[in-house]
């Protein structure tokens, strides 16, 4: 479903973020990408979202080379990928409900669909009573759950989670991971980038380990080894 074909990303001659990376992600997989800070995890995800262009190599989403799309068509790929970030990236001027509804408005859903689906996903992530709160009125865990709701509301094929638990306490961390597992069990591919050892070891799923821009390990039922 997702295929990285000999991808390299060089920011400057002394800074190589990714060096000849190739791997495939199958549909409905739960895959963790681990590595130290600066190993290249975020760059990898940015390449998939077409936020960055590779220096060489190609990135395919299904049969589409993501970087051959014109700027005006990138949104079509992005609508099929839900994104979750360490810093939540909610729209500060919109309420929790509006943040989630915005993703649907952007993808052209009808008002009826929005009114039906948004409460449903808010219920799924446990935010029903916070619908009309602004992001600054929510706790870290609530913000991340709102971000997850926004990521899944368009029923994407893939969820990308870049250090989703980096700013959260252990209890909220487990709640978020449980949510991601639930989303995966409903048939969505999940790509989780993290350096939290406990999470990886408890997941018992495929793990790709990156070091200095290279894949050093790709294990079907991996553990956090660095």
């Amino acid at each position: 479903m997702i295929y990285f074909d000999h991808v390299s990303k060089v920011y400057s001659p002394t800074s190589t973020a990714l060096d000849d990376v190739s791997f495939t992600i199958e549909p409905k997989e739960f895959i963790s990408i681990v590595g130290k800070s600066g190993a290249g995890k975020t760059t990898l995800l940015k390449l998939l979202l077409a936020e960055e262009k590779p220096s060489s190599g190609r990135v395919f989403f299904e049969s589409q080379n993501v970087h051959s799309l014109p700027r005006t068509a990138i949104h079509k790929i992005r609508r099929r990928i839900g994104t979750i970030f360490q810093d939540f990236r909610l729209l500060a001027s919109k309420t929790c409900y509006e943040n989630i509804a915005f993703a649907m408005e952007a993808s052209g859903s009808t008002d009826e669909e929005i009114e039906a689906d948004v409460p449903q996903v808010m219920d799924l992530v446990g935010l029903m009573n916070k619908a009309w709160h602004f992001p600054h009125e929510l706790s870290g865990g609530e913000k991340q759950r709102a971000a997850i709701a926004r990521a899944i509301v368009n029923r994407p094929d893939v969820i990308i989670a870049d250090e989703p638990t980096g700013n959260l306490d252990p209890i909220n961390t487990w709640e978020i991971i449980e949510l991601l597992k639930k989303i995966n069990s409903m048939g969505t591919t999940v790509i989780l980038a993290t350096h939290a050892k406990d999470i990886i070891n408890s997941l018992d799923k495929r793990v790709i380990t990156i070091e200095d821009g290279k894949i050093i390990r790709d294990a079907k039922r991996g553990r956090y080894v660095l």
Binding site: L49, E51, R71, T72, H75, K76, R78, R79, T83, R89, L90, L91, A92, S93, F102, A103, E105, A106, S107, G108, T110, D111, R150, N154
Partner: protein
Amino acid sequence: MSAYYSRIIKAGFINFTRNGWVTLATVMIMVITLFVIGSIMLSNVLLVSVLTRIEKKVDVSIYLKTTAQEEDILILKSKLENLPEVDEIRYTTREEALSSFMERHKNNALITQSLDELGDNPLGASLNVHAKNSEQYESVAMFLSSPAFSSIIDKINYFQNKIVIERLSNILTTSRRAGFGISLVLAVIAVLVAFNTIRLAIYTSKDEISVMRLVGAKNSFIRGPFIVEGILYGIISAFVTMVAFYPLTLWLGPKAEFFFGGLNLFEYYISNFFQFFIILLFIGTILGSFSSFIAIRRYLKV
């Protein structure tokens, strides 16, 4: 498709009301901008009216010989009227000249007595010529100095007033140019200030814009609400500016009328209210939407 546009418009309104301080600051700057532009328009109206009044005061009198026949004078008059430079001609007959002279000096016994003793009317008729433009008197005077008319023309006062007329005409031209130049510079400064304020307002939203892109929103869907917001800035600012001009012109109108003469700004403001409002509204909305469009462009490239 209509849901698409109604969403954009609704989002624009929500942003406008929710970004309280940014909205307030931007509207204030836009009001100042429109106020400067409005003041430029009003001062130009005042300047033009003052200059026109001064220009109207300049004329050339042609004093005709007492021997000149009425039909020759009328021929001269119609020839002058056919000149493209001439705006208006007033013909004063010998009798009219005498009666106004008598009227002016009716208390002066010596003069009335002398006139009585003369028995004949010693005054000649005169033609009073107004040119359309103060620079055109020269050519009118040239036309009159042709030998064909020398038999009936006694003297033309242009040649006595030549220096004064030329100097005045220079002052008028310079004032018009200076007025235009200053207006242009002030207007450009005002527009740039407003443009930069809107740029700053959008700069505060640059993170939101990148998030919208990542969530899969089309560029036009992100840009739309900002342009709606820019138009709203323009509309509100035009209203506020119009309201602000009411007390200002009410206060300034009579003072300016007394000082410069001619036009009362308040009456002008009231009688041209809608034209004035439409111009400010047009400038405000164009400035608001165009600034938003330009400012947001750079954040849509992620």
